[in-house]
């Protein structure tokens, strides 16, 4: 009998305490202080560990046979900006990519000029933060070559990508550190799966930073800027989703 009571007590204890613990965890997660001081440890450790162990590692590349039959889109599938719509209608003939910020020689590059540079083609995997993955082929100019040509300042710590698309009026932007920016597989892609980069995938160019999640792969890139800090840009967290949804800036997993 005694044993039965303790068994009942044990189960009752579990069923009474579980909802209280759940509610407590919900409240902890909602507390900004707890999230900032404790739940940010994962991101901090991931960033340090990945930079320590994998700074120069190359993302896996795949064969044509391994590509997704249909590469689904992520983020915005079009940009409503009026200037962008005009460029799209003109086949980006008068569009220029602006390269500025902490560089010795700011540049304005046409799509044709970008295409005359040495291109890199890679078949890589796109990992969305939601959990889906797609494999596609990207062709573009390595970002490091553009940055070197512009004479990037040694004090520059981040590259910011300003985009033509927006979510309810807030422009999309993203940023990466110099390790990712100078990585050989980080390209400004103007070609996808053997053709021009389609509008729904971010024409005329999108960033491919292959060791990163989907939301870091900025689409509809209009301007890139080398900066020393991110606090003064947008909402200050380094990207649209970082500002709007408090997604991790480095991520990487």
């Amino acid at each position: 009998m005694g044993n039965l009571l303790t068994r009942r007590g044990f189960l009752a204890g579990l069923s009474v305490s579980a909802p209280a613990v759940l509610a407590g965890c919900d409240r902890l997660g909602a507390s900004s202080g707890f999230r900032q001081s404790f739940l940010s440890w994962g991101e901090w450790l991931n960033y340090r560990a990945h930079r320590l162990l994998f700074a120069d590692s190359l993302a896996p590349e795949f064969s044509e046979a391994e590509m997704s039959p249909v590469f689904r889109t992520n983020g915005n599938t079009m940009a409503g900006d009026q200037v962008y719509r005009r460029h799209l209608a003109e086949g980006f003939a008068n569009w220029r990519l602006e390269v500025g910020g902490m560089v010795a020689k700011p540049m304005r590059l046409s799509l044709a000029e970008l295409k005359t540079r040495e291109a890199k083609t890679q078949i890589t995997e796109h990992s969305c933060v939601e959990g889906w993955t797609a494999i596609g082929k990207w062709t573009g100019v390595p970002l490091w070559s553009i940055l070197n040509e512009a004479g990037i300042a040694p004090e520059a710590r981040y590259i910011v990508f300003y985009c033509a698309d927006d979510f309810r009026g807030t422009s999309y932007y993203e940023s990466i550190d110099m390790v990712d920016a100078m990585h050989p597989q980080t390209i400004l892609a103007y070609g996808m799966n053997g053709g021009d980069l389609p509008e729904k995938h971010g024409a005329p160019i999108r960033l491919r930073v292959e060791r990163q999640l989907g939301y870091k792969q900025a689409k509809f890139v209009m301007r890139i800027e080398a900066v020393a800090a991110l606090e003064q840009i947008g909402g200050g967290r380094g990207g649209y989703w970082e500002d709007a949804g408090r997604y991790a800036w480095y991520a990487g997993i």
Partner: protein
């Protein structure tokens, strides 16, 4: 050995600390993991997995009901999976219900913060415990079944004893029986490391450094499926484990996992 004066404990301090760390981190990771799963409630085999690839498992939210699709079957799960009513009475079209996810509402970024922070706690504990157990012989001495124990006759008897709910008493209870050994060993060296590795295999940055993970799991989408199946197996292990604790004397079992429990005092 005299139980009253023995300084030997049933569970070492390392086992006890690790056990309660795991209670915390696995609970947090399971629930935040279910929230992360809700962001894309479809599982695939192979390298890539996204619409319109064919999932082998999915939780779908239809107009008026929720369904689980697995291996060609459609199972109506309205009220629990895919379509359910939240605590305010609002009907939600989401895979896992609010009472099993962390946070309870849809918040992928916050769920990832929980998941990836506790992943470090879980991984550190696992690496430290496995390392220490190999070093001090705990694995070989206490968890690896002996040849005699692995014999079909012994195994059969142990299974029957478990089915009859006849648990070892006294001195025999101070050791793990063969079914316990096999269960703990397969979880310790199989399921838990597999959980960590399949999780790491979903990171594009880790895959760059350790591409062998793609070979091991046969692709990123497969690793995500393995991660989900492993989570389900860990839940299964915990349920059986809790049932065994309840059936074999919960107060004694829990006390010895907190204090260590003196050998020889028995249940």
């Amino acid at each position: 050995m005299d139980g009253e004066t023995s300084r030997t404990v049933r569970h070492r301090i390392s086992t006890r600390v690790w056990h309660w760390m795991n209670v915390l981190s696995l609970a947090v990771m399971l629930m935040s993991g279910l929230m992360i799963f809700n962001a894309h409630p479809h599982l695939y085999w192979g390298g890539h997995g996204a619409q319109p690839d064919m999932p082998w498992f999915e939780i779908v939210s239809l107009q008026a009901r929720g369904e689980v699709h697995v291996a060609g079957l459609s199972i109506d799960t309205t009220g629990f999976l895919g379509r359910w009513t939240d605590h305010t009475g609002v009907v939600r079209s989401r895979a896992f219900p609010e009472w099993v996810t962390l946070p309870s509402g849809y918040n992928l970024a916050l769920a990832r913060d929980w998941h990836l922070t506790f992943a470090w706690l879980f991984m550190s504990g696992l690496v430290a415990y496995l390392g220490r157990s190999l070093w001090n012989g705990h694995l070989r001495r206490d968890l690896l079944p002996s040849l005699a124990e692995a014999s079909p006759a012994h195994l059969g008897r142990d299974i029957l004893d478990h089915l009859r709910l006849r648990f070892p008493k006294g001195e025999a209870a101070s050791r793990y029986n063969v079914l316990q050994k096999l269960a703990y060993l397969s979880v310790l060296v199989g399921l838990l490391p597999g959980m960590v590795l399949s999780g790491l295999a979903m990171s594009p940055a880790v895959l760059a450094g350790w591409p062998w993970l793609l070979v091991l799991f046969q692709g990123h989408a497969s690793a995500r499926s393995v991660h989900f199946i492993s989570a389900a197996l860990i839940v299964g292990f915990v349920l059986v484990h809790l049932a065994m604790v309840v059936l074999s004397g919960p107060i004694h079992g829990i006390r010895s996992m907190i204090t260590g429990g003196r050998v020889g005092k028995g249940a």
